[in-house]
């Protein structure tokens, strides 16, 4: 084998290794209720939209912690928890906005590079019975385990996951309805 072939072989191997590592990092989902890095898009009382923080499930509450304070939602008050998916620019935020003014369509080109996101949407009631909605985004693969954890602790969902805990009648527990 010539030196050129060896170089090519090593190059391909490194590329495959890189892809495998990236894929593993994306699929690694936490099994426990540890702190998850999230962005609260909207809905939590007293928290500004698009606030970065962490969520965890503890003492029957969903706790969102960010730089200034901690906000809790009692899991028993959650009437619906639904997961979804979305994507955002790999270069986002203020820097992302600045890149839109890059010359020769550089900003548009950067828009092609995107990262996938999971979304978790909650509907819950406050002490007066008022309905609130909250939306979180988080890394891929994190929303479903969090949803399962919330459902296991008493939150209700309109879209039960296939392996959700079953009630006495064989149907998933605490579900409202099965959406088409």
């Amino acid at each position: 084998m010539t030196g050129k072939s060896w170089k090519m072989l090593i190059g391909i191997s490194l590329l495959q290794l890189g892809l495998a590592l990236a894929s593993a990092a994306q699929q690694a989902a936490p099994e426990t209720a540890g702190d998850l890095k999230v962005v609260q898009l909207t809905g939590l009382t007293g928290v500004k939209n698009h606030t970065k923080g962490t969520v965890k499930v503890a003492d029957g509450n969903l706790q969102f912690t960010h730089a200034q304070a901690k906000t809790e939602v009692a899991i028993a008050t959650i009437e619906d928890v639904v997961t979804g998916n979305d994507s955002q620019r790999a270069v986002h935020g203020f820097v992302g906005t600045l890149t839109m003014f890059a010359p020769y369509g550089g900003g548009r080109f950067l828009s092609l590079f995107r990262t996938k996101l999971d979304t978790l949407t909650l509907q819950y009631r406050d002490a007066d019975g008022g309905l609130h909605g909250a939306i979180f985004t988080m890394s891929v693969g994190q929303a479903d385990p969090l949803k399962k954890l919330l459902v296991a602790q008493g939150a209700r969902t309109s879209l039960p996951t296939p392996d959700a805990p079953a009630g006495a009648d064989g149907k998933p527990s605490a579900t409202k309805e099965q959406k088409p």
Partner: protein, 173 residues
């Protein structure tokens, strides 16, 4: 020639100012549908259209925030709030999604002309007893900048303005 040009420009300026004043008078003189000091926002319904949960919640939350911010009501109650029952001159906002097109943020950023996200919502304002006071279709869209959920903000702003113009007396009148 210069003098004639100046006269033409002055004429157009005067005509524009006159049109603005006349439009403002029409708006100021428009009677309210009904006077209300409190509004209750019900959760967005989407029986006919399959709407992702995050859009439904975002529509509802943006609507509540915009009504609190610029609706002019003393109280904005959420769906199911027990305190709404005691509120005098309360109106209730029912919103039903009639159309939804989820665009693509990437397509908008790359092409500028495609990837529009659009939501059509039928808004119905009723009194406590359920009597319909006002009905109107509103649209929320995001055409250039921002994520898909920004369409819900656009709708909420329009709905808050509609509520303010028809149910809250402005200081000018």
């Amino acid at each position: 020639m210069k003098r004639e040009m100046r006269m033409v420009v002055a004429y157009f300026l005067l005509a524009s100012v006159a049109a603005m004043i006349s439009g403002w008078r029409v708006l100021a003189a428009r009677p309210l549908v009904s006077k209300a000091s409190a509004i209750q926002v019900l959760m967005i319904e989407s029986d006919e259209i399959k709407l992702p949960a995050e859009f439904q919640v975002s529509l509802y939350e943006d609507l509540v925030h915009q009504l609190e911010k610029s609706g002019g009501f003393q109280h904005v109650y959420r769906d199911g709030d027990k305190r709404a029952g005691d509120a005098a001159d309360l109106i209730v906002l029912h919103s039903t999604v009639r159309g939804f097109k989820k665009g693509s943020e990437m397509a908008r950023q790359v092409t500028t002309v495609s990837g529009k996200t659009s939501i059509d919502v039928h808004c119905q304002f009723t009194d406590k007893g359920g009597k319909v006071l006002l009905e109107q279709d509103l649209n929320g869209k995001v055409q250039f900048f921002g994520g898909n959920l920004r369409a819900t903000y656009d709708f909420a702003k329009k709905a808050a303005k509609l509520a303010h113009d028809n149910f809250v007396a402005s200081p000018a009148s």
